[in-house]
């Protein structure tokens, strides 16, 4: 499978994602510069983590207004798979490919740590290898991961199964204590209505080799392969 990895100026998880796709999944990654518009031939587009455009103005805002992101919108409209990780998630909300917004963490600090997550919807192209309510351990690292959406929209999203993963503790409790950034309903990852655009704050590429402490990220990356095959 051919994965396109978006490279905005300031992206910094692009190489990590590339390496995991190539060396762990044994698939074909290719970088795509933010000035590019041709996405022909890609099976999935990954918007990686980092600080696109230095987080100037607001994380993701400037990247949302680039030729590449416009092309990604078109790609998604045609049903192509798009996954935004961390800053990639921020870009997807800023580009209105996903609803809601990611605000600064409630405590005002950057947070980097291993995080437990509960898979609420395992019927997506990105989580189909997970069991329902499976607990994953995947690290987070962000300053602006505090997901917000108004109550009505949240209710609708929940009804449609758009809340894919939530922050939880070791035992799967979705508690305030297990919420690392103040997100509404402990939301860690969501999907669009159509089910082909997924955004999440945790970094699956950082949890794809046992030597780094967890391989749970592979559940997400391999789900994509499983869906495409």
């Amino acid at each position: 499978m051919k994965f396109g990895i978006a490279v905005y100026p300031g992206s910094n998880c692009d190489y990590d994602t590339y390496r995991v796709i190539r060396d762990v999944l044994d698939e074909e990654p290719q970088f795509i510069d933010y000035r590019e518009t041709n996405l022909k031939g890609f099976d999935c587009i990954i918007l990686p983590g980092g600080f696109s455009f230095g987080d100037y103005l607001r994380p993701g805002t400037l990247a949302a207004h680039t030729p590449l992101t416009s092309a990604v919108k078109e790609f998604a409209e045609k049903g192509g798979l798009v996954i935004g990780i961390c800053n990639g998630f921020q870009i997807l909300t800023e580009a209105h490919l996903l609803p809601g917004a990611l605000m600064p963490n409630i405590h005002g600090k950057f947070v980097c740590k291993p995080q437990y997550l509960k898979v609420e919807n395992n019927k997506t192209p990105f989580t189909n290898l997970c069991k329902e309510n499976q607990i994953l351990k995947i690290p987070i690292a962000h300053h602006d991961g505090n997901y917000y959406i108004d109550e009505d929209s949240l209710k609708k999203m929940e009804d449609k199964g758009q809340i894919v993963i939530r922050y939880c503790d070791k035992n799967g409790n979705i508690s305030e204590e297990a919420n690392p950034n103040g997100s509404v309903g402990n939301i860690a990852g969501i999907i669009n209505e159509r089910g082909n655009v997924f955004g999440l704050m945790p970094h699956p590429e950082r949890a794809s080799e046992s030597i780094l402490g967890s391989e749970d990220g592979k559940y997400i990356l391999e789900s994509i392969l499983n869906y495409l095959k």
Binding site: P9, G10, N12, C13, Y15, D16, Y18, R19, V20, R22, D23, G49, G50, F51, F53, G54, D55, Y56, K109, F110, V111, C112, K113, P114, P139, A141, H143, H203, E205, R206, E209, I211, L212, G213
Partner: protein
Amino acid sequence: MDEKILSAHGLTVDEYKRIKELIGREPNEVELGIFGALWSEHCSYKSSKPFLKVFPTEAPWVIQGPGENAGVVEIDDKYAVAFKIESHNHPSYIEPFHGAATGVGGIIRDILSMGARPVCAFDSLRFGDPRKDGTRNNIKDAKPIAQGVVKGIGFYGNCIGVPTIGGEVVFDEVYAGNPLVNAFCLGILEKDKMYRARATKIGQKMVMVGSATGRDGIHGATMASAEFSEETEDKRPNVQIGDPFFGKRLIECTLEVMQKGLIEGCQDFGAAGLAGSTSEFGSKSGMGVRVYLENVPLRDENMTPYEILLSESQERMLYAVDEENVDEVIKIAKWYGLEAAVIGETTDTGRMEVFYKGEKVADLPISAIVDDAPVYNRPRKEPEYLKETRKFNQNDLPKVDIKEAIRKVLSSPTIAKKEWVYRQYDHEVGINTVVKPGSDAAVLRIKWAVKPEINSEKAVAISSDGNGRWVYLNPYEGGKRVVVEAVRNVYITGAKPLAITDCLNWGNPENPEIMWQFEQATKGMADACRELNTPVISGNVSLYNETVLPDKRINIYPTPIVVAVGVLDKPENAIPSFYQNEGDVIAIVGEVDKEPTINGSEFLKEVHGIVSGEIPPVNLEVEKKLAEFFQENKHLIKSAHDVSDGGLITAILESAFSEEKTFGVDVSINTPYREDFELFDEMRSIIVISLEEKDLKAVKEAAQNLGIGFKTLGRVIDKPVLKLKINSINIEEDISSLRNLWENSVRKLLD
């Protein structure tokens, strides 16, 4: 020349005289600015140079020793690592956030200029004691400084994509007015693709790449070379502002032009800005340089030649480029959204000639600026205070309740877990961090996917240390111990220590007692490095860490920060710092029968409120044997944590506080010495290890064969309690409550 003008440039009347002799005339204003910056302590090392010569700098694995932007050691037959530590102390007191952030940026560019991909950072921090906030006169509170510094390091490091994987934080009142921010960076490169800060031929173009030049940071080097006083607040405009977004693009651009073979040499713009970079470039190349200031991309209009030359604007790099490659280099830089311009060329005149719109504004022999900078053999005198501290006798101390003492020591912010700090740093980007912050040493895989692709099977272990209190109480022995401590943290992972880098943070060198500390400590460090075969391959000196108050002068403890780097055959072979399984045996190896001393210990300071006592010599022979022991038996040792700050009991307990869970501990210690001394001594070479019962015999024999002590203390247990029996004292405590003290103390003080 008016003394006031000279003093504004940080020059003395004698130095001015010397300048006139060297150039045979009066310097003009621009030239005076160049001398002021390049002859500053920060750039010229004029007080410290003679003493740095004692450091051993060579080993078969050292590719580049001191003298370049960073040192380089090989880790296998194909790859090498470049590393260095540098201070950003003075700016971090004035403007904690930006001061610390630019410190990170600066050291990353140093590594980059060697042709290495920066892959990890460390930060060693020293702050005043936040428990004393609100009680000081004329000195800022420690808490906001610590908050700003940590946020600044995170801001820069997280954004630029270099993981901050370790460091240490110490809180002590001596650092209240002079916090220390030492930033370390390590990069990886192919051995035969190292770059240096030099041009390769006459007529080569000097291309400046990065951000535009503004008025920030003019005379930063001079500021960093003066003591602090009430006027320091006025120096705020001297602090540079960093932009990691530019820094990130500068990394990618520089590595790309290097990989494509388009540049011949590389130097970052650091202290003394354009004046410093171009003159050092010329000096190292053995050439002259001609600089055209009107070509420099500017951020502020109407900057004078003086300002353009001395601005310390961040995120700028100087490349030496052959004429035929200039267009391609500029094209690549612009692709990354960076400013790029040819600002000069190398010449055969040996002079630094600076032009501005056709007019020559400076014309100086490079040797005069760089090589002929003054070197001072400053007077030295053994400090008076040592007479008092040497008299201290631990046997005069009253006995204290052990249980209470353990709680106090664990809650000391210096001992307590630094999670509040490292949670704010992205320590995982790059997906190479195998052993994460919170252990004795961090362990990093040596792999990188692109620019350049590097795939070594090896890993590096890195640890930083620098107990200023030990050095204060005995500079020679303390200096030795600081090296030993950093190196020990590396070898207990099973790694082979290769080399160190150091940052020497000192007080005012014009005070003979302080200079004596400097001479003694560097001697001690050099002796340890020689014996352990870990040469010093790079480093930095920060003097004038002194606060001048109306009624007194406060100097920091002499604080050498040492970062040791070692190589591991495989990352998965690293010995963890934490117990792994219930039922495993807890033992100690090393000087297990030696008489303990609590001189200079955290226990003495936190429990008795005393900083005193003689620091005994460290036995380097034992250290060498211990290093061998860990390298040879790493497959049998489940965990290892050395006895250091907080003593034996702290090491036993910290090993139980793993990220995954809290283990119980059941240990029994029989000692002919006082129990409090046995538990809190920091002066013996002892390491707490755990191992499976079945390997006990083999490990014990291995230790005995090497002639090092071995003692079994007890077991890791399932029940979450600390059971400690020492002589007739029996303690049973809920270990989770101890963990809470250790885990939350720093957060409570700083959040």
